[in-house]
Symmetry: C2
Subunit: 222 residues, 2 copies
């Protein structure tokens, strides 16, 4: 679903957003909305946010981070796999449990693996997923492994909450020849959006929405 | 490399084989030879076996199970990833260390990921790779995950040393629509080869070579 998306907004079901801000985000020129977050994701808040976003015509996907909050009715579903975890649970242990429970309900055409490298050791996602710190010199090896050996359709470089290193992203870009590269983390302006768009196929903009929807809208570069 | 291979012989560099038996194996109608094993794999015994196999025209690949025994000159290289391990080391931790050391020497066109499910908890490979037992009811979930989410080019169902369950292999066959399925373990006769070839794209024949090369040759079905 992200193959044709240059820009995506990520909305967190656990965070408050006004109807006016949500309308501005959903009626913008963004290519898609992903609903997902790290903490306090419930069936209730996912359903609620989906219903509010569904009033608009923008495509909306769910990133499944809790098996308690799998809700039908999205255009697409993403299942994360953290390639720099130290615990198989976050690579695909939980995924297998989810497939055992919900697999019979899935239309796999609407589901994609979302292979992550979480670069920022300070963020919640890194701690939750028991991440292993990825030193800059290891970045090309992770990318070559995912791009050429696993041949994953996507590679998601997640700086979650902090703006990433252009040097690291340049290494990602130079080594990824097959996988569609997604960048997320700390984009708050058109300049930052432009910079990270040089090194990735899709940029994801999240937190700034909750600080200033106006600033968030300026990250949409086409 | 295995996409067009119906039958492969796997030779263990740590095991003895006579020149006559090796010639019979290499001059047979098999599609390829894979050199690989679990214990006591050294640069010396890999080099030695490669040199002996290279006298024949059959294609020969190395399965890299020890970074101490990576030898140039093979037609192809396979790097295992054990999807039912309990330790990230055997999923791709060691792979990343190997890429950090040898990555700059690799031509990725000649290297493939070999994604394993090790089904036999009694075998050496299962214990070495700290395997998690895969109950039959979990098999479709592993296959769907690998085939449709990871979209791995190969899925290797490894019974190593024991003949596998046709019921399990039938589930593998029914759920794998994208990945090329490889079966290995305990094939000692034409009948067993035929049975497992129904459920897989490639069958791998190993141990029986060392018991009786004559019996091994009878597993080549075309």
């Amino acid at each position: 679903m992200l193959k044709d998306c240059k820009h995506v907004f990520k909305l967190d079901p656990a965070k408050e957003i006004s109807d006016a801000d949500l309308a501005a985000i959903c009626e913008s020129e963004t290519d898609a909305i992903i609903i997902g977050g790290t903490d306090n994701i419930t069936e209730d808040n996912v359903l609620n946010l989906m219903a509010r976003v569904r009033r608009f015509s923008v495509s909306v996907a769910l990133e499944i981070t809790s098996t308690e909050a799998v809700v039908p009715g999205f255009d697409h579903y993403f299942i994360p796999a953290v390639f720099n975890t130290t615990d198989m649970k976050w690579q695909h242990g939980l995924m297998l449990e989810a497939l055992a429970e919900y697999g019979h309900l899935l239309d796999y055409d609407e589901v994609s693996l979302l292979p992550y490298i979480i670069m920022n050791p300070e963020c919640k996602a890194f701690r939750k997923a028991e991440g292993k710190v990825v030193a800059p010199e290891m970045v090309p090896h992770y990318i070559n492994m995912m791009d050429k050996l696993y041949q994953t359709p996507y590679i998601y470089i997640e700086y979650s909450g902090t703006y990433g290193s252009p040097e690291v992203m340049q290494m990602v870009r130079e080594n990824a020849s097959h996988s569609h590269v997604i960048y997320g983390g700390g984009i708050t302006s058109k300049e930052e959006a432009r910079e990270m768009a040089q090194y990735s196929d899709t940029i994801v903009v999240g937190n700034i929405i909750y600080d200033s929807s106006k600033k968030a809208l300026r990250t949409i570069i086409k």
